[in-house]
């Protein structure tokens, strides 16, 4: 047979079958004829021929099995058979597909986000050519450092990704012959004004060669160019598709129009396409401007300074470039410029890092950490689901032993039996993958909304790409193998003769493996129940934490009059007028100001000097601060315990005053009345500040942190470029937003409100991740419990059914119902105890991994552990109760008759 026939063989089954049948028929005919000629009767002759031939069907089956392409038939038949078998037991099928599908769905949803955050390459030209530039050095002393990521550690060395602009400029110039070096810096809050409408946007400041070298094309207009980066160039801006849609209704005439950024006019030169994604994680940028706009937008980051570290550098390395040589040349530039600056750094070096996923790699990794934790939890649930389905399959296999024995007797080989049982598992696994993908499509949206909802405009590409599909299919196949292999091997071990025995003679196996699987499920469930319990207690502790102020009915928003061109003497009157105007809105009780909103994650601290009390060795007097207006404490509902609160009279010319909190008073002035005492800030020791009051301790930047030492200055005694308005209302706070916007617009057109939210929203938001974790883990733990329950119930019901005859005999001999039911319950409890004995140390060990997530509860909390175990025992009893009851109700007569 040549290759062509071999190729066609799978599709020539009918011809093969016909020829085989014909040939065997002729063979038998010939032998019968021979026998007749030897003197046998025709009937005897035929029987003798058949005996000599052996099993016709067996011979055919062997011949079929070894055909080229037989697997196509087998696969088709096995699949049909599996589908029919599964359709016949819809309960089993539904439980299996649903439990696996839920696990696969959760895993896929989490992986989709992980993929978007960490794994997916940027949708730009040849992303694998992009590199992130990092510096490394020892004993680093930097004066002015900021950026997307804090300085990290790599062994002995410190690593950072922010550079001074001159370093970048030199690198770009000197390496132009071999690589394209470009720079970027995200500016989170810029006031944008276009078509009479102001809002706060995020802007990415880039080098003129950014779009060319990052590798993005334009939808409309032109990209930013090198000419745009020259000092004194006409300010140009490129906007994103979503910004164009929001602010210009996709009007093509937006090109050439003016967009005002913090009071400076920029001309819109280009619009990016819809599917463009920028290099920053989450890519929140609405607009792109060049470094030439630094003096207009970013006064505190002078581009000429070699001592101000702020911008990130990326480089595109063309194919065939010697990367080591490139790195060495960058290092040379870096060292040369360092020597001319005030920065001190030992062994300065440059490291290139994969940039195909975008900038700020370490930040991405941090964002992905909770996702990895969740994936771990999902893996546990998947393990339980696998054990569960494997248990169900084993029980099913035991019930179908006779069927398999018959198949073996009529010629199915061991491999065929195993293949057939595995096909059933694969069908189950793939069906679950489909269910999982559907669930994931919905789940990842929910997950995204709840994890990153607070970051407006946060864009992660989570669409289901090739990698996600591979993950899902791989997960499905892996689980199918995990739960299907052992039952399949069992099926292959059946002895053909067993098929001929009667059903009752066929000893139903005791399912030792099934019992082990149930124990494992219960052990793993304990892990999840304990973990979920700890997270639930953490969340409930956080929700009930004493804030120290009343968060209800408070509206917060931020206004930055300095970005609208106001400065110095204009600022304070603006704040006063705005407060008066807002106080006049019906439904407003009081209005105050603070520079930082409480529980927003933002904080500000400084060191103080107490007269006559040098700080203890190593104990820096780091103290947190707030700038507040008069009426702040009353508006927030923070009680003043001693002295007075900040007053309107604490103005620029008068005595510098401060209200401190209880902890400040207790630690710095133990056992004394702090009111009237003075101290000074480490930065200005000659300016004494007088304590005029003590307020109650309140939470400051987050619910988890303990109350810090806090001092509240009068906001009138310093220039405030931007402030948060704190509005206590009698009506639902958000309902007053339109009126507030109108008042501010009347006072100063084009001045936007940003960070508009309620204090309660901030508090809720700070527990968002905790709630998410507690919710997800409880959901998954409940699923695990349900699965373990089903597994245990199935096993017990099987055992009772298997022993119906024995139970009947015992009842006939006078055993009471209790004597029949108790052993069933006892067995279930033993299984549960065995599982928990293994699960307990594992639970305690794993809980240590989530120690940092916990609040107000220890990772080995005995109460949670006991409660979790009690819950499990209760559920185990409930699951075993029904089979036990059925056992106790066996009618001895019927049981014995069925033997």
């Amino acid at each position: 047979m040549n290759w062509f026939n071999r190729l066609l063989a799978p599709f020539r089954r009918d011809r093969f079958e016909a020829e085989m049948a014909e040939e065997m028929r002729l063979h038998l005919e010939h032998r019968t004829q021979e026998n007749v000629e030897a003197g046998m009767s025709p009937t005897d002759a035929r029987h003798a021929a058949l005996r000599r031939f052996g099993g016709v069907d067996q011979a055919k089956e062997v011949a079929r099995a070894q055909r080229w392409g037989a697997w196509v038939d087998h696969l088709r038949r096995d699949t049909q058979f599996a589908l029919r078998g599964l359709a016949r037991s819809p309960g089993f099928t539904a439980v299996a597909i649903l439990s696996l599908g839920l696990g696969i769905g959760a895993g896929t949803a989490i992986f989709s986000i992980l993929n978007g955050v960490l794994l997916r390459s940027l949708p730009v030209r040849a992303p694998q050519e992009l590199r992130l530039v990092n510096w490394m050095g020892s004993d680093v002393v930097l004066n002015n450092y900021s950026g997307m990521e804090p300085i990290g550690k790599r062994g002995r060395l410190e690593v950072g990704s922010s550079f001074p602009y001159p370093v970048f400029r030199e690198m770009r110039e000197r390496l132009a012959d071999s690589a394209q070096v470009f720079g970027l810096f995200p500016i989170p809050r810029v006031t944008t004004f276009a078509r009479g409408d102001a809002s706060v946007s995020s802007v990415l400041m880039v080098s003129g060669n950014f779009f060319a070298d990052y590798g993005a094309s334009m939808l409309l207009g032109r990209p930013l160019l090198m000419e745009d980066e020259r000092p004194g160039a006409a300010p140009a801006v490129v906007i994103t598709h979503s910004f164009w849609e929001r602010r210009f209704g996709q009007d093509p005439s937006a090109i050439g129009q003016t967009l005002t950024l913090n009071q400076s006019a920029f001309t819109i030169v280009g619009v990016l396409p819809r599917d463009y994604i920028g290099p920053m994680p989450g890519d929140m940028a609405d607009a792109y401007i060049t470094f030439a706009a630094q003096p207009l937008i970013l006064a505190n980051r002078p581009i000429a300074s070699a001592n101000n570290w702020w911008m990130q550098i990326m480089v595109r390395v063309g194919p065939g470039t010697d990367e080591q040589q490139l790195r060495a040349r960058m290092e040379a530039v870096f060292r040369q410029l360092l020597s001319g600056s005030t920065t001190k750094m030992g062994e300065p070096g440059i490291a290139l890092e994969d940039g195909s996923k975008g900038a700020a790699h370490r930040l991405r990794q941090r964002m992905a950490m909770p996702l990895f934790a969740l994936l771990g939890v999902v893996a546990l649930v998947m393990a339980i689901a696998c054990a569960n389905v494997a248990g169900l399959l084993l029980a099913r296999g035991a019930a179908r032993q006779q069927e398999f024995a018959i198949r073996a007797a009529i010629g199915a080989g061991r491999a065929r039996l195993i293949a057939q049982a595995l096909t059933e598992s694969l069908v189950l696994g793939l069906s679950s993958a489909v269910v999982g993908l559907l669930l994931a499509a919905w789940g990842k949206k929910v997950l995204l909304r709840s994890v990153v909802a607070q970051l407006e405009g946060f864009r992660i590409d989570v669409h289901t790409d090739f990698r996600v599909l591979v993950f899902t299919l791989g997960l499905a196949l892996l689980t199918a193998l995990l739960f299907g292999l052992v039952p399949a091997l069992r099926a292959g071990n059946v002895a053909p003769l067993d098929g001929l025995k009667s059903r009752s003679a066929l000893a139903a196996p005791r399912l030792r493996l099934g019992r082990m699987l149930v124990s494992v499920q219960i052990g793993l469930s304990l892990l999840l129940v304990f973990g979920a319990g700890l997270l639930i207690r953490t969340f409930s502790n956080l929700v009930r934490v004493d804030l120290g102020f009343r968060p209800e009915n408070i509206l917060l928003f931020r206004v930055a009059p300095s970005q609208a061109g106001m400065s110095g003497p204009e600022l304070q009157p603006f704040y006063d007028n705005a407060r008066r105007a807002i106080a006049g809105i019906p439904g407003v009780r009081s209005v105050a100001l603070s520079d930082v909103a409480l529980i927003s994650g933002a904080s500000s601290s400084t060191e103080i000097v107490l007269p006559g009390r040098p700080a203890k060795r190593g104990g820096a007097r780091e103290t947190y601060q707030l700038q507040v207006s008069d009426g702040f404490f009353k508006t927030m509902g923070i009680p003043i315990l001693l002295g007075r609160e900040i007053a309107e009279t604490d103005a620029a010319g008068s005595l510098p005053v401060v209200v401190v909190n209880e902890r400040f008073a207790r630690e710095y002035f133990p056992g004394e009345d702090p009111v009237g005492r003075t101290f000074s800030l480490a930065g200005s020791p000659a300016r004494p500040i007088t304590i005029v009051g003590v307020c109650r301790d309140t939470k400051y930047d987050s619910l988890r942190e303990e109350v810090p030492r806090l001092m509240c200055f009068s906001s009138r005694q310093q220039e405030q470029r931007a402030m948060h308005f704190v509005v206590r209302t009698a009506l639902p706070p958000m309902s007053l937003v339109p009126a507030v916007r109108k008042e501010i617009a009347t006072l100063r057109p084009g001045l936007p409100l940003s960070n508009v939210r309620t204090q309660e929203h901030l508090v809720r938001e700070s527990t968002l991740v905790d709630r998410l974790f507690a919710g997800l883990c409880s959901g998954l733990a409940a699923l695990a419990l349900l699965l373990a329950c089903v597994g245990l119930y199935g096993l017990m019901a099987y055992n009772v059914a298997r022993r119906t005859g024995e139970i009947g005999v015992r009842m006939a001999l006078g055993a009471t119902r209790r004597e029949i039911a108790w052993p069933v319950l006892r067995e279930a409890l033993w299984l549960a105890l065995a599982g928990m004995a293994v699960g307990l140390p594992a639970a305690l060990g794993l809980a240590r991994l989530i120690r940092n997530q916990l609040y107000g509860v220890s990772a080995s909390d005995p109460l949670t552990l006991v409660a979790g175990a009690a819950l499990l025992v209760g559920i185990v009893c409930a699951a075993a109760w029904f089979p036990a009851r059925r056992a106790s109700r066996v009618d001895p007569l019927i049981a014995l008759r069925s033997e």
Binding site: M1, H27, R31, G54, A495
Partner: protein
């Protein structure tokens, strides 16, 4: 319980299969022949190989055909019956030489061991 028995059966089947294949090639090396003719010749040569039944000859024939060692054609038998005739291909002849050689070497090796031991 089924485990050990299965393994023994598998082993026996494998051994028989290899011997059967070689015998078929050997029988066909003398000229083309139909199924029952091959069965007759093999029975003359070895009583035990076809003890499971003549039917097991056919899977072996199809297997060898798939391997390209033999080919088949419908024809008419000596007593005027329709029959499928099998004959050795070039590749089959080569394979027979290889198997015979392997067999000789194996027998030689076993003989040597038996003499030494």
């Amino acid at each position: 319980m089924g485990d050990t028995r299965m393994a023994k059966d598998d082993f026996k089947t494998d051994l028989l299969q290899g011997t059967l294949d070689m015998l078929i090639l050997r029988v066909l090396s003398r000229g083309e022949m139909h199924g029952w003719g091959i069965a007759d010749r093999i029975e003359q040569l070895s009583k035990s190989v076809l003890s499971v039944g003549e039917g097991s000859l056919y899977p072996a024939l199809y297997r060898l055909q798939q391997q390209g060692w033999i080919e088949s054609e419908w024809g008419v038998s000596e007593n005027n019956r329709k029959a499928k005739f099998y004959r050795l291909t070039k590749a089959g002849r080569r394979q027979l030489e290889v198997e015979a050689e392997t067999w000789d070497r194996l027998v030689g090796a076993i003989g040597a061991i038996m003499r030494l031991a």
